[in-house]
């Protein structure tokens, strides 16, 4: 492997690299079609080759790639079985000479972009496939995973990043490493640590049951600075506590036994939810918010009736309402339990916990069709070689088809 170029993400010489960095994203956004005017053919080919090689297997020596290059590019044509059954192919030539050539307009099929397939042998490499399956954040990192023995092919450890996958090969990466590669990194700077410490202290203070009254009054006093849309878990907890007090107040007044039982069930579900609040993480808050608003609306519609009349016909909570509330709380519980078992805070992990995808990952997240990935076990199957089909080439390349063609021609000239 050649060493990493000194200015890997140079802003002066724009080269799109095979990784998920913000530099790559910026370069992708700045990429322009090749300048074909006032340049010799050789110059055009050279720059096309150099641009594409900076992305496709930059960590592979040029000579190795040249040996791997092949001018035959795989392609498929989707067939319609109904058409095949009805016609035997002779209809395409029928009656031409007899003057029966006035046909209905045939649709011209889309162009097959063969020229975007120049680098398809590169996609067969194990490290590239790992990167394409979204198990590593760059091709170099994928290569490192293989070299470090974190990858298995068909259940056997494979330490060669240059292993060419065969159709049907199953490869598997250590899931902790995948989480590390694709997750947000831990904050390591002194300032970040200090900020985190402060936040933790604030959280501890907010959760302290002894002085729970004080922060709530502060929050009410200062609504302007905390201009967040979603309420924090503590706020939600407070809301729900008031809600429970309301329920208890209603329970105290005279209601029929059946209603009382229902309300007691309701109260117990709320209690359960409150106990789960502590484990709630940032991404559950949105759901909690919705649950809460729904709950409040349900109760506000039901409550006036209950307060003004205690006759059995008008119940405090109709059957559907309780069912809905039950379902909502069950889902809430499930969510909180899921987060506490699968995505909990853990200082020992090498990545930021609770896990979240790293920045700018979504802009690069796609899985080509020649791979079938199961994200739960961080394993994937290389189904077949990448192919071109009408209008679509399966090799992911950020360059336009003109660049692809020029690069193909560059490698063609020595064959």
């Amino acid at each position: 492997m050649p060493r990493k170029p000194p200015r890997y993400h140079s802003l002066k010489k724009i080269k799109v690299r095979a990784d998920w960095s913000r530099w790559s994203l910026y370069h992708l956004s700045q990429l322009r079609p090749p300048n074909l005017g006032a340049r010799t053919y050789f110059q055009q080919k050279w720059s096309a080759k150099s641009d594409t090689r900076a992305y496709h297997g930059e960590h592979i020596r040029e000579k190795k790639w040249k040996r791997r290059f092949t001018s035959s590019l795989p392609a498929v044509v989707p067939m319609d079985h109904k058409y095949l059954a009805r016609h035997d192919g002779s209809e395409q030539a029928a009656g031409r000479g007899a003057g029966a050539d006035a046909q209905e307009k045939t649709r011209t099929p889309q162009m097959t972009p063969y020229m975007q397939m120049t680098y398809w042998p590169m996609e067969r490499r194990l490290d590239m496939a790992i990167w394409r399956a979204l198990f590593a954040s760059s091709a170099r990192q994928a290569r490192q995973f293989v070299v470090h023995g974190l990858v298995k092919v068909n259940g056997k450890r494979m330490r060669y990043p240059g292993y060419l996958l065969n159709p049907g090969d199953l490869f598997q990466v250590d899931s902790e490493c995948v989480m590390f590669a694709t997750g947000a990194p831990k904050t390591r700077t002194a300032v970040a640590r200090q900020v985190a410490e402060e936040q933790r202290a604030a959280r501890r203070e907010a959760y302290d049951p002894n002085n729970s009254k004080k922060p709530s009054s502060e929050l009410e006093a200062l609504p302007a600075p905390t201009s967040r849309e979603e309420p924090s878990p503590t706020e939600l907890k407070k809301h729900l506590q008031t809600l429970m007090d309301d329920v208890e107040g209603v329970l105290g007044t005279e209601v029929k036994a059946k209603d009382k039982q229902k309300l007691r069930d309701f109260r117990s579900t709320i209690r359960k939810a409150i106990s789960l609040w502590k484990t709630a993480t940032a991404d559950t808050i949105a759901t909690l918010d919705n649950q809460f608003s729904f709950l409040r609306s349900a109760l506000s519609t039901a409550k006036p009736e209950a307060s003004k009349s205690s006759d059995p016909s008008t119940q405090l909570l109709s059957k559907e309402d309780t069912e809905k509330l039950k379902a909502a709380f069950d889902r809430l519980k499930e969510q909180a339990e899921y987060d506490s078992t699968w995505n909990k805070r853990d200082a020992k992990k090498p990545y930021l916990t609770p896990w979240r995808p790293r920045n700018y990952m979504s802009a690069f997240a796609f899985i080509p069709r020649y791979l079938e990935v199961n994200q739960n076990i961080c394993a994937a199957v290389y189904l077949r070689h990448p192919v071109a089909r009408p209008g679509l080439a399966e090799v992911p390349t950020p360059f336009s088809i003109e660049t692809g063609q020029l690069a193909f021609n560059w490698y063609l000239r020595r064959r």
Binding site: S72, D80, R86, S362, A363, Q375, V395, P398
Partner: protein, 402 residues
């Protein structure tokens, strides 16, 4: 990292004197350490532009949009999401997502594609109706479904787009269909509109996942959830639910792909008499004598056969009988092949050992041929170097047995 501020480290008294200024240029502007190898990170125009882009148009790409893809192709030059209505905001999208998750149970799937001619458009149409439904349920403020442009991670490459992957529900359904109901791979492939190889892979991976769960290994659940949320997915239309009555499953990919044969890459002019009935079979022969017609080379020739029988006007019973006969013949062929393999295996003499078995197989030394260099020959021959000692031979394994 915010852009660094330009520091005027050169005193103004120096700038007026040209001789001293030239000296200033040769020495890089103030470096913190003399021995540092890091290139001096000055605030250049390019660097400023980079951070401007990151904090302006690039900010939208930093985090995923909940419940949607978030590719570069979906934005214009100024970082506006093209498909979004003017009032749309990311923050609201998160809330909408929470609500739509509530309503996921009563989601409705629209009728999907028939035929295989232009799967891309049909697939897109199916997805679009799907998402339009979702948007309707979520309220007026939700994101409209993605167009082809929105699925382009590389705006310059018009011939590549992020294609949908199988959703968790669909994977589970395929696994259950094959494992529990015992459907053949090709049958499941036709039913779900998923290619043969993918059906096999899904079953293999699902099986592995179940083994993991049984062993109590930790699944990468948060990763899976986040990634599937970022990608376009093909949803599963459960036919058992009452609201999906009469709906067809959404075709995931074209299942009858004909590989382009190398012999057909050339252009060929074959003069043919007008009276001659020139079919696909003849055309294949013209290219290459061994080239079979498309009917036999596609992954699902049985579909063509079934369609032909339907077109020939056979009754249902007759067609059923024919299909059963074919199935029986296929099974007989498979059984025969299995028996042959078993017999071959039994013919070998085996001596079991602690870790490995010794297997004895009959060979003739004549297989090396007259030159004694034939590849069929067995054993090491004196004076004949090992292949892997030769120049240019790579020792990376070429295959791993499953």
């Amino acid at each position: 990292m915010p852009p660094r501020l330009r520091t005027t480290n050169v005193p103004c008294t120096l700038t007026c004197c040209p001789s001293v200024r030239s000296q200033c240029i040769t020495q890089p502007s103030r470096t913190s350490r003399q021995f540092s190898q890091t290139s001096c990170q000055q605030v250049t125009l390019r660097r400023r532009k980079f951070y401007d882009w990151l904090n302006g148009p690039g900010l939208a790409l930093k985090e995923p949009i909940p419940g949607s893809t978030n590719y570069l192709g979906a934005y214009d030059r100024y970082g506006n999401l093209v498909r979004a209505s003017p009032g749309w905001q990311r923050r609201k999208a998160g809330e909408q997502q929470g609500q739509s998750a509530e309503q996921e149970g009563e989601e409705k799937k629209e009728e999907a594609a028939e035929g295989q001619e232009s799967p891309d458009e049909l697939e897109m149409a199916a997805r679009r109706t799907e998402q339009a439904k979702k948007a309707e349920q979520a309220g007026g403020d939700a994101l409209p479904p993605e167009t082809v442009e929105d699925l382009r991670p590389f705006p310059l490459n018009k011939h590549f787009r992020s294609q949908p992957v199988l959703s968790e529900g669909l994977r589970e359904a395929i696994y259950q269909r094959v494992k529990r109901d015992g459907a053949t791979v090709s049958l499941a492939s036709v039913e779900f509109g998923v290619s043969n190889e993918r059906v096999g892979a899904v079953v293999r991976l699902k099986q592995m996942e179940k083994e993991w769960i049984a062993q109590g290994k930790t699944l990468a659940a948060p990763y899976s959830k986040a990634v599937l949320d970022m990608l376009p997915t093909t949803p599963y239309v459960d036919p058992n639910r009452p609201e999906n009555k009469g709906k067809r499953p959404i075709t995931h990919e074209p299942i009858n792909d004909l590989p382009v044969h190398a012999a057909t890459r050339q252009q060929l002019f074959v003069p043919v008499a007008e009276s001659r009935h020139f079919t696909r079979v003849d055309a294949g022969k013209a290219f290459d004598n061994t080239l079979l017609p498309a009917d036999d080379r596609i992954p699902h020739p049985e579909l063509v056969q079934a369609e032909r029988e339907l077109a020939s006007g056979l009754s249902f019973e007759e067609r059923k009988k024919l299909a059963e006969e074919r199935l029986a013949a296929e099974q007989a062929r498979k059984a025969q092949e299995e028996a042959r393999l078993k017999a071959e295996d039994a013919a070998l003499k085996k001596v079991p050992q602690r870790r490995w078995d010794f297997v004895f197989q009959d060979f003739s030394i004549e297989t090396v041929g007259k030159s004694e260099r034939s590849l069929e020959g067995v054993g090491w021959r004196y004076g004949f170097p090992h292949e892997d000692r030769k120049k240019g031979h790579v020792k990376i394994p070429t295959k791993v047995e499953a």
